[in-house]
Amino acid sequence: MSLFKYSAPSSFYPLAGKLVPWFGTLAFVAAVIGLYLGLFVAPEDFQQGEVYRIIFIHVPTAWMAMFIYLLMAGYAVLTLVYQTRLSAMMMEALAPTGAMFTAIALWTGALWGKPTWGTYWAWDARMTSTLILLFLYVGYIALVNAIEDKKRADKAGALLVLVGSVNVPIIYFSVKWWNTLHQGASVSITQGNKMAAIMLAAMAIMAFACWMYSIAVAFCRVRAIILEREGQSQWVKSIKEAVS
């Protein structure tokens, strides 16, 4: 019962307001620790040199890019099956952050690729499917913004994300297939096997920081969305917290 109670925007709004500072603080602390470990403590990689430090933000952001889309697909199911308003608002709140992480993953991937592979961009399976993931985010955001009727926008966006999420594995597989066909001497990412424990720890902490950050920002944004949509309703005006 307690979980479902918070699926109503009126009770989620104050809850999110209380949680945002906590997640924000967690994110900040984890980021400071992660960056310290990644930039100062972790030793230089014997093959790639200092440039490998980019993976401390590249890998976490790439994970978040995929994870947030998956999360949106989960909310899409809730939106279409249970018709909950909050789940659609969460999708809308998550999408910009997901798109941002996808863009950062691509950007850092390019900056890592130049000194390591000798090229900013390779039509590698992972990079290509990340690019397509960015297109999927952009499509969702464009669709939701273009439809003026919010109820319709919620459902249309949810359906699009659901169709997109079914396609993501197909896209990844097809791009991989295409890639093996076209690249005889393909660029291979040989990391992980010889990663020191400290590097893994720094990466995990950075991933945790990105995760907490996403929650904090999404909660904050969903609060704004709730007010924008339901600002005229009685419950908003009845709680002082909403406007203070």
Binding site: L136, A142, L143, A146, A156, L162, W177
Partner: protein
């Protein structure tokens, strides 16, 4: 309209629903021959632009031919997508269809088939002529046609979902391109991949089977997704 709603004593089996919706859309398409020809003309013209842009060197043209033909076919299909639902939406027929005795997914399936027969099939038939211009030969042309026959219905089915989602939305056509094109990528990869495999003498069945598999999955799933999208847009 009257052709769509079943008469009182008529059977309303799903097959019949597919047939009724398909026949109606085909009739409408035949009546406006111009639209049919436009997509085809677009396809031919855009494909013909490529030699002008990249030069007449035959080895290079042959190398890019599968990709060019596939991308242009994909764009041509995309441009015709509004035809599936747009006019029915504007004149209110779509609402009647949603309320008719036939389930909406069944009617959507019929509309998809009609759309494929009036775009995908003509494109597949025209493609070999364009392939000849690029120096492709017998077997390679056959593979392109086979790929298009298997691939264009998938483009229609995925596109129908996008077309339904943007019904009545301002700037809908460019928005639809944003939604639909990323979803088209696997079809493009396997379709052009098959054509390319035939050029280098590799077995093409892998690519074509994957297209066929996607087609089968799409046939089961997309009518429901398109119907859901239509319902969302009508609410």
């Amino acid at each position: 309209m009257s052709a769509v709603l079943p008469r009182a004593n008529e059977l309303t089996t799903p097959e019949r629903g597919v047939w009724v919706a398909m026949r109606r859309d085909l009739r409408l398409a035949v009546r406006s021959k111009g639209e049919l020809a436009q997509a085809l003309a677009f396809f031919v013209i855009v494909v013909s632009l490529f030699p002008l842009a990249i030069g007449p060197e035959s080895a290079l043209l042959k190398r890019v031919a599968p990709g060019v033909v596939w991308v242009c076919a994909l764009l041509a299909v995309m441009l015709t997508l509004p035809r599936i639902f747009q006019s029915d939406y504007l004149d209110g027929t779509l609402e009647q269809l949603a309320l008719s005795r036939y389930p909406l997914p069944v009617l959507c399936a019929g509309k998809m088939i009609a759309h494929w027969l009036t775009t995908g099939v003509p494109l597949a038939i025209t493609a070999p002529l364009l392939g000849l211009q690029f120096g492709l030969e017998g077997r390679e042309l056959m593979v392109i046609v086979a790929g298009l026959i298997l691939g264009t219905p998938i483009l229609t089915m995925l596109g129908a979902i996008g077309a339904a989602l943007v019904l009545g939305v301002r700037g809908g056509s460019i928005l639809m391109a944003l939604l639909v094109l990323p979803l088209y990528i696997p079809v493009l990869i396997f379709g052009a991949g098959a054509a390319e495999a035939s050029m280098v003498g590799v077995d093409v069945t892998a690519n074509l089977s994957l297209l066929a598999a996607m087609l089968l999955i799409g046939m089961v799933v997309t009518p429901f997704a398109a119907a859901a999208a239509v319902k969302i847009s009508l609410d």
